[in-house]
């Protein structure tokens, strides 16, 4: 009799790979992929000519424009403020720092409708801020500024929360080295610190922009939702749905989806570019 050498089957060191990966994929498919695919299929039914006429209708164009411009304004504000806030939270010790840190999450936790309501109350003609601003000729409520402020409110945490951990993990000896080499504090920031946090910063800003483009709850309260003036794209899609115009709704939704995907790609490209020097590590 000859011995039959049984093939050796390597055992995985960490068990449960099949089960855990399977569960994850199933979940991702049900929650994310199927809805997105359904939306795209729905859009494909429309046909290119009809699709184009829906999204190039003046009311739709106005809605896209408003959404995009307001989101850009909100992102610029949060880019500046979020960086400052992350810096303050990581670099200084002061009483109440933890409280401030916890407050950063309020926009995440707060229902957006509540945010929208309270912002409307503050900025309307008899609200705390409105009382001061309206006589000065600045109106926020029912204008693009109202939309931008609502977007700003809900997307604050994205920049702060992506930059903060990177800033915390920065090797302090890099800044010390720059100091011994005679660099001023300003130069240390622009030449040493900022390039290190740039990838996270870009990622944070992109997510904030994506979130602003899709924001709905907070805006509808403060915007007044006047067609051609303060009607955002997400709301227009909702209105079309209310009118049982599924095709109109999904065409607009598809454009929003397209924006989001483009942003994701840009964000990844920017990050890859900013990390290009990481080379071998």
């Amino acid at each position: 009799m000859t011995e039959t050498a049984a093939p050796i089957r390597a055992k995985r060191v960490l068990p449960g790979f099949t089960l855990s990966l399977g569960t994850t994929l199933l979940y991702l498919t049900v929650i994310v992929l199927i809805p997105v695919a359904a939306l795209i299929l729905k859009g494909a039914e429309i046909g290119p000519a009809r699709f184009w006429s829906i999204i190039s209708a003046p009311r739709a164009i106005a809605a896209f424009q408003l959404t995009l411009i307001a989101a850009l304004i909100a992102t610029l504000i949060n880019a500046a403020y979020g960086l400052l806030m992350a810096w303050v939270l990581t670099r200084y010790e002061f009483p109440g720092r933890r409280l401030l840190d916890a407050l950063m999450d309020v926009p995440f936790a707060l229902p957006t409708a509540v945010a929208g309501l309270s912002l409307t109350a503050l900025f309307s003609g008899n609200g705390w801020f409105g009382q001061v601003l309206e006589p000065a000729g600045i109106s926020i409520v029912y204008t693009i500024w109202g939309v931008a402020i609502a977007m700003t409110f809900t997307s604050i945490p994205f920049v702060v929360r992506t930059v903060q951990p990177v800033l915390e993990d920065l090797d302090p000896s890099l800044e010390q080295a720059a100091r011994t080499l005679g660099a001023s504090e300003g130069k240390i920031f622009t030449r040493v610190v900022f390039p290190q946090i740039l990838p996270a910063y870009l990622a944070g800003c992109t997510i904030a922009l994506a979130r602003s483009l899709g924001e709905f709850g907070a805006i509808v309260f403060i915007a007044g939702n006047l067609p051609f003036k303060t009607e955002i794209a997400a709301l227009l899609a909702f209105i079309r749905l209310e009118e049982y115009d599924y095709q109109g709704a999904s065409a607009i939704a598809l454009v929003l989806l397209f924006f989001a995907l483009v942003l994701l790609v840009i964000s990844n490209r920017l990050q890859a570019w900013a990390m290009r020097y990481r080379g071998a590590e």
Binding site: D171, S173, L174, Q176, A177, A178, R179, T180, L181, G182, A183, S184, K187, R191, V192, P195, Q196, Y277, R278, G279, A280, E281
Partner: protein, 359 residues
């Protein structure tokens, strides 16, 4: 630049790290701060750099009060233990950094910066790495870049924190020799921190031994080896055999000890401790001695012996295998040291009475 340090103290959260440091570093000297971790040597270096501030004391460099200057103003070259290279810059940009961040009025022209960088790349033998990023370099190469970056600003003082700590032994030896050469070429006053004696002795003109926030002894390798100032230095320098003895008329006496080869000292009579090196003890057969040979291992060149003492203590003795008289397990031997350091036990058995003892 002469560095004068007086009465420097520093505590972190009530834990004293430096307890009154007095030290003068001569112009152009290469000085090592040697000590175990926690001895305060790195803190002292960082205070000189302006990265930490002392609680009290003076730091004067070339007649200037450095405690009134920020790190930026001191113009020092500091090489960090883990190099702290800027990861997003090429080697060239890292080295040029100190020059390119100067205010416009004091900044050399681009061509001049490029020339300085080229000279340094050449001096450090890393021209071929100029356009790489730090992530693409080996440890030894990073070390050279870090040194180049520090030298680019023509520092008044060069400070290195455990410069070879993270490298393997062969590269260490190379870099040591090479650092010595760089020091000779640039002539700048240089202080480096290390916990490795061999490194300290091979590189430095003088070695400062630190322990527990104090300077225990300053000297050359010979000074520290022949005449340790206290038991700590004796132990640190490899005199690890510690015998309790009686001191009478300046001589150490104990059962099984033949101290006749050691010179007479001025140590006061009473109990004391004798510190010996395993490689400078001769063994003489003596049935009356309490020291019994219990283990014998050969490394080819040496015999590594273990002797069992009267109170059950074990001491190591190293003999040259081919030239020493043969020894037998279980035989008893008298210890006849040729070099030793004797300290009297008073003043808490510590550094009170340093007594020079050598053959």
């Amino acid at each position: 630049m002469t560095i004068t340090i007086k009465g420097l103290t520093k505590s972190f959260d009530d834990t004293p790290v430096l307890r009154g440091i007095d030290l003068t570093v001569r112009d152009g000297e290469l000085l090592a701060l040697l000590g175990p971790s926690g001895s305060g040597k790195t803190t002292l270096l960082r205070i000189i750099a302006g990265l930490e501030w002392p609680d009290a004391g003076q730091l004067v460099v070339a007649g200037e009060d450095w405690l009134a200057l920020s790190a930026q103003q001191r113009r020092i070259g500091f090489v960090f233990q883990h190099y702290a290279l800027f990861p997003h810059m090429t080697v060239r940009d890292n080295i040029a950094f100190g020059l390119s961040v100067r205010p416009r009025a004091a900044r050399p022209g681009n061509a001049e910066i490029a020339q300085t960088v080229d000279e340094l790349l050449n001096l450090l033998q890393i021209e071929h790495l100029a356009d790489r990023h730090p992530a693409q370099l080996s440890g030894g190469q990073r070390q050279r870049v870090a040194l180049g970056r520090a030298l680019a600003i023509r520092p008044s003082v060069l400070l290195l924190d455990e410069p070879f700590g993270a490298l393997d032994a062969a590269i260490r030896r190379d870099l040591r020799r090479w650092l010595r050469e760089v020091h000779e070429k640039t002539g700048s006053t240089t202080i480096f921190v290390t916990h490795d004696q061999e490194e300290a002795f091979e590189l430095a003109d003088r070695v400062v031994v630190m322990g527990d926030g104090e300077i225990l002894q300053i000297g050359t390798a010979d000074d520290l080896y022949d005449a340790p100032a206290c038991p700590f230095v004796a132990r640190f320098m490899g005199a690890v055999v510690e015998l309790p003895v009686n001191i009478s008329d300046g001589r150490a006496t104990a059962r099984g000890l033949d101290a006749s080869a050691l010179p007479v000292t001025s140590a006061p009579d009473g109990p004391g401790r004798l510190f010996l090196r395993p490689d400078s003890i001769a063994l003489i057969p003596d049935p009356a001695s309490p020291w019994q040979l219990s283990r014998k291992i050969s490394t080819g060149a040496d015999l590594r012996l273990t002797l069992l003492g009267p109170e059950g203590q074990e001491i190591p003795v190293d003999l040259p295998r081919r030239s020493a008289p043969p020894v037998e397990i279980s035989q008893t031997y008298r210890l006849r040291p040729s070099v030793g350091a004797l300290f009297s036990d008073d003043a808490a058995g510590a550094a009170a009475t340093p007594i020079r003892l050598s053959a």
